[in-house]
């Protein structure tokens, strides 16, 4: 069980942060384009889900999985999107993504007067805290797969 990578987007589609831990295959396109493609895909899935839903939605799109990985999604009311790719053995981790938003992003970036919002996070503290938090997760193993 492992975590592959993590993306953080704001409401305008700017990729605020990207980290990877175990990634075996790159997308084959430059990182900037990959972020745009990921954001576009999530935006389309969200509107698709809101149209298809037979009942009124509360949380909306939660996750999807393919034959090899699972993508977990968490969006705040302010439009911040936390996206984590893990392998298939991992169950619902909404609380983990919420923790990344509230205890890491809000505490270390939003509340930091020196961190400008709306662009890639430069804070080294945020990067290292996020890294140690993810490594401490029960479903993260140092050896991939």
């Amino acid at each position: 069980m492992t975590v592959h990578n993590l993306y953080l987007f704001d409401r305008n589609g700017v990729c605020l942060h990207y980290s990877e831990w175990h990634r075996k295959k790159q997308a084959g396109i430059p990182k900037e384009e990959e972020f745009k493609l990921m954001y576009g895909m999530l935006f389309s899935i969200r509107s698709f889900v809101s149209k298809m839903s037979p009942l009124d939605m509360k949380d909306g799109f939660l996750s999807f999985q393919t034959s090899r990985y699972k993508l977990h999604y968490y969006e705040t009311p302010t439009g911040i999107k936390v996206v984590m790719n893990t392998d298939l053995g991992v169950g619902p981790i909404r609380d983990v993504l919420h923790h990344i938003y509230s205890s890491l992003y809000v505490e270390l970036v939003v509340k930091n007067p020196l961190c400008p919002l709306g662009q890639t996070v430069q804070s080294e503290l945020f990067r290292s805290r996020l890294d140690s938090y993810v490594r401490s997760l029960p479903f993260f193993s140092a050896r991939a797969g």
Binding site: H22, M38, R68
Partner: protein, 137 residues
């Protein structure tokens, strides 16, 4: 539970809460089937990933099965509904038996075969009876 099958070839609606008519669903499904499914595979951090197989929300779960020829069967179900994998394979079987083997059916067209409809209805009823993971439905 409702289901649609194929490359826009047919839409069967057994849904209880549809506020769009069947025809209005089709463009969204077609977009999902063609683009989003493939992007899920392209952005994969692992080698050899398929497209999106299960998409989960808090109100429904979408299952997608792609055959070797590129036909996609898409089923929308309750998140706790079990047995969807076997239902998808059964639908594939019904499709090949009553649509493909039918000499009057042309590929890429909507399916208008009575036996196909009857068997689909039966398969959906069996799947619904197969039960759910949790209490209630």
């Amino acid at each position: 539970m409702n289901s649609s099958a194929g490359r826009i070839t047919s839409v069967e609606k057994f849904g209880k809460h549809s506020y769009l008519t069947a025809m209005e669903y089709i463009p969204s499904f077609a977009f999902f089937a063609n683009r989003l499914f493939a992007i899920g595979s392209q952005l994969s951090p692992e080698q050899g990933s398929s497209g999106i197989e299960v998409l989960e929300t808090d109100t429904f779960k979408l299952h997608c099965f792609q055959t070797l020829t590129g036909i996609k069967f898409v089923v929308l179900a309750d998140p706790r509904q079990a047995g969807i994998d076997s239902l998808l394979r059964k639908i594939y079987e019904i499709y090949s038996d009553f649509a493909l083997k039918n000499p009057f059916y042309s590929l890429e067209m909507p399916i208008r075969c009575e036996l196909f409809d009857q068997n689909m209805k039966l398969a959906l009823e069996v799947a619904e009876k197969a039960g759910t993971y949790g209490p209630g439905s």
